[in-house]
């Protein structure tokens, strides 16, 4: 099956938060009491009960003030750090795109939370046996032929659901046809090896809270460079240790013999 994805065009978002509400409704997530926030974002951050939210940014370019609203949720990396971090494989990247979580085998080590380059997975801290919680790109809706709840709810067309390859093509088409309105970058095309969620913006991504230093190499490959050396270390270091054990025993035997001869 062709991997699906989501294209989020920040220039089209008007900050209505329909996506936030739709996500809560579809996933039956309890609401969070809101409070005044200097940047107008609410709730103040993603949590076990808030899988997507708009992060409000007031960006200044010369005399021009622009409000930009960045929809945050799981990026659904093609090679997810969280999946590689999980030592029971409770997090998996499905061929359809979503990164999904199996709570039954989760041990609760929280390495996925530390590992995620976007700090997306959240924890049910108040629960006796907490689950890791995050957006699953509405894998259940997708299986039933529906688009994710947030994309279905968006009134301005800022969120577009579809095949990732086609969305990527469309994104570059929008950049080319915009007379330089957009930043010449599709965030998610190459970042950490590519993600299912793609972003277009007319403001530098770094100014909108996107990670400034982000590698194009899939993060699991870093780990693999270390882990794949284990067999060689076992054989080489193990062989050396066995040899040294033999060598030092032999040496002490010879020394004792010599002592016996001299004595």
């Amino acid at each position: 099956m062709e991997p699906k994805g989501m294209l989020i065009d920040l220039t089209k978002c008007m900050g209505c938060r329909s996506c936030q509400v739709a996500c809560k409704q579809w996933n039956n997530l309890p609401t969070t009491s809101t409070s005044f926030n200097p940047d107008w974002s609410n709730p103040p951050g993603l949590s076990a009960n808030t899988w997507t939210r708009l992060d409000f940014h007031l960006s200044e370019e010369g005399d021009d003030l622009k409000w930009r609203f960045v929809k945050q949720q799981c990026m659904h990396c093609d090679e997810p750090a969280c999946e590689s971090a999980c030592f029971v494989h409770a997090l998996t990247k499905t061929p359809e795109g979503p990164v999904v979580y199996n709570a039954d085998i989760c041990v609760g080590c929280r390495y996925c939370m530390v590992a995620c380059p976007f700090s997306i997975p959240k924890y049910q801290w108040e629960a006796r046996f907490p689950k890791v919680q995050k957006c699953d790109l509405c894998a259940g809706r997708q299986a039933a032929g529906l688009q994710p709840a947030c994309a279905a709810a968006c009134p301005s067309g800022a969120i577009k659901f579809g095949g990732r390859a086609a969305l990527l093509e469309e994104a570059w088409g929008r950049i080319r046809g915009s007379n330089g309105k957009y930043v010449k970058r599709v965030f998610g095309e190459k970042e950490v090896g590519g993600t299912s969620v793609l972003y277009l913006s007319d403001v530098q991504f770094e100014k909108l809270g996107f990670p400034a230093e982000i590698t194009a190499e899939p993060l699991p490959q870093y780990t693999w460079k270390a882990l794949s050396k284990i067999p060689a270390v076992l054989v080489g270091w193990g062989g050396f240790l066995v040899f040294m054990t033999w060598y030092s025993r032999r040496r002490s035997q010879l020394e004792e013999k010599q002592k016996a001869v001299q004595g």
């Binding site: 993603l46 590689s84 030592f87 029971v88 494989h89 709570a103 380059p117 924890y123 284990i230």
Partner: protein, 404 residues
């Protein structure tokens, strides 16, 4: 013959109380109560962990430091059995004992930190082999079994289970070598855990050489721990402190630290991060502090015979090496991640009391085994000509009596 030797011969197991031990026992009981509460109520009710800081005191102390500071077991075993440093014989048993207790405590600490702890056995059947945590889980599990087998003969000798004792003794060398291999893997893995976070961990610490750095510091701190432990137990049991044995260990640690220093500097130069070191930031300053206290000062102290050949000198230098490793792990878990994670974290009283209780349990277990299982038999031997065969026993009785 005094009463203790008779008791030892008659097979009676004893554990005398004194005020210090009562305090330790109270802390251990507190640990037990809080643990039960934590397992029943969850992490949010007991810890100050948060979505920003999913890892805190327990991962830092009970796991990262616990494993690093228990490195005395595999380093001593390697030097004695594999590299034939015969003079280390008296400290092999105590070093293995400390490592064994250390790893059992690490396992307990890790279990308590798991959100869904009843699933702890899952990695045995669900192989997330692409995770460093998977390797860590298996190595720590197997190494704890290996250490149990390594210390087994001492326990079985005391219990007069001669068949078991002989079997395990015959397996000593394979056990030791597999123990060193497992230690090499998981000591380095504790560093490899953070290879996955190049965008989060400050680049003073984030490097592909994290596993090598962790391994080298473990190898350096192992003998330093042995030195400090020997000194403390010598004082507690009025034994002679084995200053002579600590000399080769001190030189070994100094050598390892010099290699570590060269690797660290070369790595920073290669990755062009040397400038960040002297930028005056909190990260840069903490890095400098860690290297000064844990590497440069102790190396100088170790290399000066005037300092190394005194009890105070060698123990101070070893303590600095330990503080250096504590700082290093602290910097990786906290200092280097602060900028990326934001917010702040300080452990709750329950987190603190559980860590404290776990350490108290370790000290009690150490005393129990030392007093009942002849761990220091070889240590007493050099003085056998001048003193009664079991030097520590009468002194220990005096101390226990004096305190009670």
């Amino acid at each position: 013959m005094n009463r203790e030797v008779l008791e030892l011969a008659s097979g009676k197991i004893t554990f005398r109380m004194n005020p210090f031990r009562v305090v330790l026992l109270l802390l251990t009981s507190l640990f037990a109560v809080v643990t039960i509460y934590r397992l029943a109520a969850g992490l949010g009710a007991t810890t100050n962990l948060s979505d920003r800081w999913p890892w805190g005191l327990w991962i830092f102390m009970d796991v990262k430091l616990g494993v690093a500071l228990a490195a005395g077991g595999f380093t001593t075993a390697a030097l004695y059995y594999v590299f034939g440093w015969r003079e280390l014989k008296p400290i092999v048993k105590p070093a293995i004992l400390t490592a064994w207790i250390g790893y059992v405590l690490v396992a307990v600490g890790l279990l308590i930190d798991l959100g869904r702890w009843y699933n702890f056995w899952r990695p045995i059947f669900f192989w997330g082999y692409h995770s460093v945590m998977f390797e860590l889980f298996w190595c720590v599990l197997l190494y704890t079994i290996v250490l149990t087998a390594e210390f087994g003969p001492t326990v079985f000798a005391r219990l007069r289970w001669e068949g078991w004792e002989k079997t395990l003794k015959a397996l000593t060398l394979p056990l030791v070598i597999s123990g060193i291999l497992l230690s090499t893997l998981h000591q380095s893995s504790l560093g490899s855990l953070y290879i996955l976070m190049p965008g989060k961990l400050n680049h003073l610490w984030w490097t592909m050489l994290l596993p090598l750095n962790y391994f080298l510091t473990a190898v350096a701190v192992g003998p330093a721990m042995v030195t400090v432990e020997s000194y403390l137990s010598a004082r507690a049991y009025r034994r002679r402190f084995e200053l002579d044995i600590m000399q080769p260990l001190a030189k070994f640690t100094a050598g390892t630290l010099v290699i570590y220093l060269v690797v660290k500097i070369a790595d920073l130069v290669y990755r062009k991060e040397l400038g960040a070191l002297f930028a005056g930031t909190r990260e840069g300053n903490m890095f400098l502090l860690e290297m000064a206290i844990g590497v440069i000062i102790p190396v100088i102290m170790y290399l000066l015979p005037g300092i190394r050949k005194t009890s105070g000198g060698v123990v101070t230098a070893a303590s600095l090496v330990i503080v250096g490793v504590i700082l290093n792990r602290f910097n990786v878990v906290f200092t280097g991640m602060t900028r990326a994670l934001g917010g702040s974290y300080f452990p709750s009283w329950m987190e603190l009391s559980m860590t404290l209780g776990l350490i108290s349990l370790g000290v009690l277990a150490y005393s129990f085994f030392v007093e009942n299982f002849g761990v220091f038999e070889e240590a007493a031997a050099p003085e056998a000509v001048a003193s009664p065969p079991i030097v520590m026993r009468p002194a220990q009785r005096t101390m226990a009596k004096g305190a009670s």
